[in-house]
């Protein structure tokens, strides 16, 4: 991948990947930072990127791993007790249905959320989701089925279960 090819790839996919990662992790600023860092690594390791069948999947996976790494680090008890260093959960003024969707996604198990986002937002076929997540297709289908059902319940008008 030469400079012009990379620039075109970066320009065309940055916003899309940020949106996808936002849906996966629920924090848009964090999503943008992780996608940004993933592209730096993509250029740094562009030989690996050349060998990748789907460069966009390579960047998405890298960004997602970065984000998950941050989550886990925080979950291990290192969440700041200091409110002055805690970013607001919702930094943007999002529309109500979007906020509800993100809140609902955050309540799903990570594997179900990942399957739903990759399949329905990233528009990947089940086979590609299986390849990207490293699990059998049957597992992806099961996760999609359970995820859809859970999402429907969480977003039903009377669920009231969309709080973070």
């Amino acid at each position: 991948m030469d400079e012009s090819e990379f620039d075109a790839f970066y320009t065309a996919s940055f916003a899309r990947l940020t949106g996808q990662l936002h849906a996966l992790i629920g924090d848009r600023d964090e999503a943008q930072e992780c996608v940004q860092e993933a592209f730096v690594r993509a250029w740094q390791h562009r030989r690996a990127l050349d060998g990748a069948e789907h460069p966009e999947a390579w960047v998405r996976t890298t960004a997602y791993r970065l984000a998950v790494s941050r989550w886990r680090r925080v979950k291990l008890g290192r969440r700041p007790t200091d409110r002055s260093v805690s970013a607001p959960l919702w930094a943007e003024a999002a529309d109500e249905s979007r906020v509800a969707l993100i809140c609902a996604l955050r309540q799903l198990p990570e594997a179900q959320r990942q399957a739903l986002v990759l399949h329905h937002l990233c528009d990947l076929p089940v086979q590609a989701v299986a390849r990207e997540t490293g699990v059998p297709e049957g597992t992806v289908k099961a996760r999609l089925s359970r995820g859809r059902a859970a999402l429907a319940v969480l977003l039903s008008p009377d669920s009231g279960a969309t709080h973070v």
Binding site: A42, R70, R78, D82, V117
Partner: protein, 412 residues
């Protein structure tokens, strides 16, 4: 709430608004910069390997750093600077199960950012360097040993690092987030300087630099969840690593390991305990509950009812660690709702950029890049507005500095 099909909503999720990516050229530049570092290190290792076969060690010791060689001098000819390949840089590394270990070798590349783009450990050419890196799932433990031509150079590097941290305590990261550089207190019994780099809302590194003679050991913990208070907690672990490795560095000290920190390796700046800000002081952090404040041991929290006009339930903070105020002085306030909402600097405290009681207006203006207000009350708010310095001047000099949350529940 929308009653649309959730899967349809998901499919139409889109980008969620405008994004602000770096220019493509900047992304490539950053990627290239990392590649160059790794390539340079590999090339140096190759050169060293060839020279090791062809040239006696004493002849190439000054040329194996991968940087322009320093002319040999009489003072260095008899003092070895080469690091043995088997130097135990990986000591005290068994604590992280399942980690990927790289080195010790001359091939594991790493970067050492310093505030405001300054150079620190790289400000002087090294005679030799060895690296070890341990990558866990959530963080990285990096160690590097560099030797310099002489002790004065190594001391100058330490001074440059310390000066950088104090000169630029707050800055914007490339993505626009605020990052803070905060000195840390660490006891190693050696000439050590420690600090943290934390980026809101989470992430960063803890650095510990230790000089023994002509050599400097760097230990860095980087993790996505590093916070200022986490750094204070973890710095002891870095000291444990440093003190496990440092005895082997005595070969680069003319005085052997009898050398003490008082030999001028680090400057005489404000004690880390007395650095006021950016988020608090000596473990006290804005937003802490009364219990958390007491737990630090740095302050007591007493009922504020004696202070007329305070909201009911507000507590007064009284520092226990500074000798510059009287017991019972009010050094801050704790609100029942938002926790520690204000801290007041005592006369012996200084902000990370060196401003304290008695500083002049020009020193304040030079020290804070973003000042708001006019007259004798100035404010330097954090980028996200979550806290601020409030600086009061009397007759042209600073008479009061506070760290405050934006809303003051307990104010009179």
């Amino acid at each position: 709430m929308s009653d649309r099909d959730p899967l349809e909503q998901l499919a139409r999720f889109g980008t969620g608004g405008p994004v602000t990516p770096l220019p493509p050229a900047e992304v490539r530049r950053r990627g290239d910069r990392r590649r160059v570092r790794r390539t340079a290190v590999s090339a140096v290792a190759g050169v060293v390997a060839v020279l090791a076969v062809a040239v006696p060690a004493g002849l190439y010791a000054a040329h194996d750093s991968g940087i322009p060689p320093v002319p040999p001098s009489a003072s260095t000819s008899a003092r070895p600077t080469t690091i043995p390949d088997d130097f135990p840089l990986d000591r005290a590394s068994g604590y992280l199960e399942g980690a990927t270990k790289i080195g010790p070798s001359r091939e594991a590349g790493m970067e050492y950012p310093l505030p405001c783009g300054r150079t620190g450990i790289e400000s002087r050419p090294a005679a030799d360097q060895l690296r070890f890196e341990m990558q866990g799932e959530e963080f990285v433990d990096r160690r590097e040993l560099r030797t310099f031509d002489n002790q004065a150079t190594a001391s100058a590097v330490m001074a440059e690092i310390e000066k950088s941290v104090h000169a630029c305590p707050l800055e914007r990261s490339g993505s626009g987030r605020e990052q803070a550089w905060t000195p840390l207190r660490a006891e190693t019994g050696l000439a050590t300087y420690s600090f943290s780099r934390t980026v809101q809302p989470m992430g960063g590194s803890i650095y510990q630099y230790t000089r023994v003679g002509r050599a400097i050991l760097t230990v860095v913990w980087s993790g996505e969840g590093t916070t200022p208070e986490g750094a204070r907690r973890d710095i002891g672990e870095l000291s444990r690593i440093t003190t496990a490795i440092a005895p082997e560095m005595c070969i680069w000290s003319d005085a052997g390991c009898a050398e003490r920190p008082s030999d001028g390796a680090t400057g005489g700046s404000t004690s880390p305990d007395l650095v006021f800000g950016p988020y608090g002081v000596n473990g006290l952090t804005l937003g802490m509950s009364a219990a958390e404040v007491r737990e630090t041991g740095a302050a007591s929290a007493v009922q504020g009812s004696a202070h007329d006009g305070w909201k009911e339930g507000c507590l007064a903070v009284d520092y226990t660690f500074t000798g510059d105020d009287e017991p019972g002085d009010v050094n801050g306030r704790i609100s029942p709702e938002q926790g520690l909402e204000q801290l007041v600097a005592t006369r012996d405290m200084r902000t990370p950029n060196g401003v304290g009681i008695g500083s002049t207006r020009s020193e304040v203006e030079a020290g804070f890049a973003h000042l708001v207000g006019a007259g004798d009350v100035l404010s330097s708010p954090a980028g996200d507005g979550s806290w601020a310095y409030e600086i009061t001047l009397t007759d042209g000099r600073v008479s009061r500095i506070t760290l405050e949350l934006p809303r003051q529940d307990c104010a009179i």
